[in-house]
Each structure stands twice: as C-alpha cells, then as structure tokens.
Symmetry: C2
C-alpha cells in the first residue's frame, strides 16, 4: 500500500529522506562556520520531526511562541529560545514551561524587562532583539544609547540574565542570490561584532534565517544560528537561491475535483486554508501559488514544466497547464503542489503524512 491510498483530502506530505539530508547539510555548514545550531522548530511544529534533530545530538531549539515552547518542552526539549518579542500576557504559561526547560526570551522593551523582574519566580535568560536591516522588530543596531539602557535594566535584577543579542535577518527573504545574501551577512557581522565588543565579547550573537545559513560564507561570524525553514525548504527559498528543487521536502497532495482540458486547467481541493495566500509575484501581475508535481507510490516527480497553481480561494485551487496535461486527469485523481511557503502550509495543518505512510502529528 502506498501513502497515496491514505489520502482523501488535502494532505501535507513529507519526504523524510530529504528532511534528513537537509538537517545533515545544515549541521555540517554550522560546524564548518564554528556556530552552534539552534534550529527553529516553527517550520515543522512536530514532535516527531524534532526527533530527527535529536538523534544528531542537538539539544537546543528555537520556537516562535509560548504555546510552541510548551509543546516542545512537553516533548522533552530542555533548552528553548522563544524568538518572538515576549508577550507579557503569557507570563503564567512561561512559569509553567520553566519547570520543564531552560527558557531564553527576547525583547526590545524596558517595560517587558521590568515586568519580568517583578513577576518571575525563577530566573530567565534574556536576549536583546537587534535589527540589522530587516526593519520588523528590535532595536536598531546603531542605537547604542537604547541598547545600553536595556542592558543596564536587565542587569538590575538576578531574575533576568543578559544572554546576548538576537537578530533575525529576515531581509534576506527580499534578496536574491548569493551576492545579495552575502552582503547582508557581511554587514550583519560587521555591525554586530562592533556591538559585541562594546557590550562584552562573552555575550553571544544569535543569527537566524535560512537563506544566509544555507548559502553565505559566515565562518566565525556568529556564535549561534537559528535557521528553521531549511528542514523542508519551499519555492520561496528556491527562488532566493537557498536550495535546489530536489531539496524541497514537503508538498501538499490534493484531490482533483474538476477537469477542464479545453481551458487547460484543473480544479483541485486545496485552497487558501491549506496554502495561505502567499504567492511569488512575477511580471505583469502573474501570481504563482505553487509548482505542480506528479505523484508515484513512493513520492513525487520534478515540477511539471509550464504548470502552476494559479489561484486559491478558501478551498479551491486552480491548476493551469501550458500543455495538454489536464486531459490526462480525472476527478478523484491526486496531484501534488510544491508550496511557496512551507512554514505556513505546515502551520495550517494538524498533521502530515510521510511518503512512507507514517502519520506525523503537529502542534495544534
């Protein structure tokens, strides 16, 4: 029996051999760059996928919410960084998680630091969120005055232990190719080294994002890496240059529900609630929501040339072909979609299926 026989609805399917290979490659790259790897588990959100990391003796992980920290603490992870500005409304959950794991929080707010110092029973590691160009959250790396103030504030109490600086170089997602990615990594290294030497070199720099960790030369740049997406990769990463199409370890298998050979299209059960509305934009308003792959009993083919998921509504997806491939399908067949953003696809799903037919449960 093939994994395909188990599928009746849109289903996230994972190739664990590709996952294993992606993990090995990233472990090797981090090692060669003298960085500790603290992988971000928000991409898979699965205790079972976590075990594939654990067997390589990785013990430290990153998550993006207090709920996710709780989930992985309950799966036996004892060193967890919550790489999201700490939400003080969840302080009660934090206390519970601290019973199971060493927790590191991040913040860029003096109010949050004071709150933690007033409310915590047990000490917590605290990293300052620094912005080296992503322009999302964090203190701008050049703003030494504010950084000094926050460090002083953290040092006022033994309940908050200053553990270093954390950066998410998310601007690599807007870059393309090694040259632009390398520039971001080089710039990050330059400004963060200066920062580090100002605030004590024993404080670590934690750097994260799949594009730079996948391809940039960062030997000796940062003490810690926190990439996440690399475990599965996706079309966004492929277009940035972080991976090959063959490295992409996850697809969504969708039932075909209508076939229109005259219009060179299929209607599939698989829409915005499965893929999100993330797309890759090209010239002239063209939007790409996924590549199309054919399925076989052990996995999937390379993407079909000239075929793509062209639009998604709540449950519907439209698959378009340049050739006559639509005529070879009938309602009830299955087709695979290689997604634009694997993190959102996984997050939308309660469970995944391996190509070996194993059910993989996720946090929900």
């Amino acid at each position: 029996m093939s994994f395909l026989d188990l599928i009746v609805k849109p289903t996230v399917v994972v190739n664990l051999i590709k996952v294993e290979s992606n993990i090995r490659r990233m472990i090797q790259r981090a090692k060669e760059s003298n960085a500790s790897l603290r992988p971000h588990f928000k991409t898979h959100q699965s205790g079972q996928i976590g075990e594939l990391f654990r067997k390589h003796n990785l013990t430290s992980i990153t998550v993006s919410s207090v709920s996710m920290a709780r989930y992985f603490a309950m799966h036996g992870w004892t060193d967890i960084t919550i790489a999201f500005p700490f939400n003080i409304r969840e302080a009660k959950s934090l206390t519970e998680i601290q019973r199971l794991a060493k927790v590191t929080l991040i913040t860029a707010s003096s109010e949050t630091i004071v709150f933690l110092q007033e409310q915590l029973n047990e000490a917590v590691n605290l990293m300052l969120k620094i912005d080296t160009g992503n322009q999302r959250s964090g203190i701008q790396v050049s703003n030494y005055q504010s950084i000094q103030k926050l460090v002083d504030s953290i040092n006022k109490s033994k309940l908050t232990h200053f553990a270093g600086f954390l950066v998410h170089a998310g601007h690599t997602y807007k870059a393309k190719g090694l040259y632009e990615i390398q520039q971001i990594a080089d710039h990050g290294h330059e400004v963060l080294s200066t920062l580090q030497s100002n605030f004590g070199v024993e404080k670590i720099i934690s750097w994260g994002d799949t594009p730079s960790c996948s391809m940039a030369q960062m030997k000796g740049y940062f003490e810690e890496w926190r990439p996440g997406n690399f475990v599965f990769y996706d079309l966004m990463q492929y277009h940035i240059g972080s991976c090959q199409l063959d490295d992409i370890a996850v697809i969504v298998v969708c039932p075909v529900v209508e076939v229109h050979p005259d219009r060179k299209k299929l209607i599939i059960y698989g829409g915005a609630i499965h893929f999100s509305k993330e797309f890759i934009a090209a010239d002239s308003g063209f939007q790409l929501f996924g590549y199309i792959v054919l399925l076989h009993e052990n996995g999937w083919s390379k993407p079909i040339s000239g075929a793509w998921l062209s639009s998604v509504s709540q449950e519907h997806g439209i698959v378009m072909f340049s050739g006559d491939e639509a005529s070879s399908f009938k309602p009830g067949d299955l087709i695979g979609v290689m997604p634009v953003h694997s993190c959102l696809v996984t997050s939308a799903s309660k469970e995944m299926l391996s190509t070996g037919g194993e059910l993989i449960t996720c946090m929900k």
Copy 2:
C-alpha cells in the same frame, strides 16, 4: 469583567449584536427578492453562530466541504448543500452524513455523476455547477451541449436527483460598487433564465456571493441565495461596497509586544497564521492587511484614521500610524485589527470570543 481580561493571545472577537443585525438584514433582503436563503456557513464554521440563524426558522444551509457538512449535521442541520465540486474520495463520509441530513451535492463532471450512481446506497440531490463569468469552476453557461449531456447522465439513475443549477458569482469580488455588481447580477439572471427555460423551469437556480446579495436589485431573479460572508463582513466587502465599516462584526484582538514611537509603529502578536496573507492592494505597492481599532470593555471603536496593519509574517504583525498614536501604547496592551477577509481569519481559529465574554467554538 470585560472580554478583554480573557485575552492573552491573538483572539478572534465577535460582536453578536452586529451578527444578529447582519442576519436580519439579509433575511429581509432575500424575502423582498422572493428568494429562499440558504446561508453559507463556511464564514463562521461555528455551531453556536449557526443557532443565531436557526432562531429565525432557517433550516437549509450551505457548506464548503464534506467535513463541514458532517460538523453541521451533527449540530442538527438536516438540509445541507455542499457547494464545492464533490470530492469522490470522501464518498464514505457522505454516506454517513446522509443518515443525518438531506444532502445536495454539486458537480460539473460526468465521471463524478457515474461514480455516485455506482457507489451510493441512498439517493442524493445533485446540482450542476455553472460558471456565469467567475472563471473558477463549473460548466460555462453557454455550453448547452455539455450541460445537456450532464443532465441526461444524472437522469439515468434514481440515485442522483437533478436539483437545478448552482452559481457562485465570485467575480463580484473583483468588481467595485453597485453599478458593476448589478451588471454581474443582471447578466447572471439573463443567461440563467434562458438556461432554466431550456432545462425545465421547475429546476431551481441557486446564486451566491455576499456582494450581490448585499446590494444588488435581484427581485425574482433566483430561487435561492447562498451568501456567507455577510454574517461578519470584512474590509474586502467594505471596499467592494457591500457593507458599512460599522457592520463588520469581527476583529482580531492582538497583544502589543513592541512599541517604536520614533518609527510610528507597533509590533503585535498577530501574523499570517491568524490573518492569512490576504491584503488589499493600493497604488505604488501599498498593501493593507487590516484597519486598526481601539478596544473598550464592550467592543471596539471605528478604525483609527491613518493607521493600518502594514505587514504580517508568521506570528508578527506591524501596525503603522500616520500620527503619534504609537506612543500611547505599551507592551502588554491589546489592539484590534479589522481583517481583510473574515472567512480566512475564522477558518484559522479554533474558537472565537464574543464581546460579551462568551467562548464560541468552531469546527476544527
């Protein structure tokens, strides 16, 4: 105690008074247009919100998946149309649901019709999915030859009962204002009336979409209406012209986690996994992911002028202000976001909270 005291994480909040008013208005409009109302429940996906319809003696509903049909059948709904091309891989679930409810399916495929005739134990109503311009799924309304073939195929067995034609005029979502919406409704009426008179006038026309049902003049046009979004509305509907801002019955309440008055922005806990990546595009690449409202113990304010949710990543949202409002917030505060697409927001959530503090569970 206010509903706000119950919120620690991003939470979908519903104003049930607005919901009730939206339901009443749509019932009245359908009645004045001589149409039966078969509301689409995919927008709320909640047994409790369903009860607000039931108390108006509505007994027939629409859903968008077999799973949703099962959920509402188990909540006592006995007349359910699954307005999504039937996915034959879920035939077993269909048989189970038929024990609880009269089910109407839609299709545009002869293979699906033959499959149902071969596999079903109990007769099912079958409507043909017709495309009057949306260009998503269905048979093009002018393609009489194909329609005749499918009708003949349905009539070959007593297990499939031909129940009429179903249209989702989703192209109203790309239209703006009453003039364009009215054109779509008028055109739909014209071509569908001709179709109906060709295939027997006792066959009903089922028409759905919130924009036309909210504002177009459709007296005597169609036997059945299936709008769904109107129960909550959202910014997309507001921009189309289907509702006033004050009719929007749902927001997402998000904790503030970082405050940057110098950059006139807030970082909130609330991102793509809560809002999806649906946005409203404006000139020069501007993307709007939501309007910003202030919260009070019983509800929310009108949107703040010149404030918007400007981007979302997995869990982060960035709120931008034109004025100095950011300086009045601190981490731990709550802020409200009026969403672009309420269906996707609700679908991403396992539960909602009413402004009265009542927990509203959803299908998950």
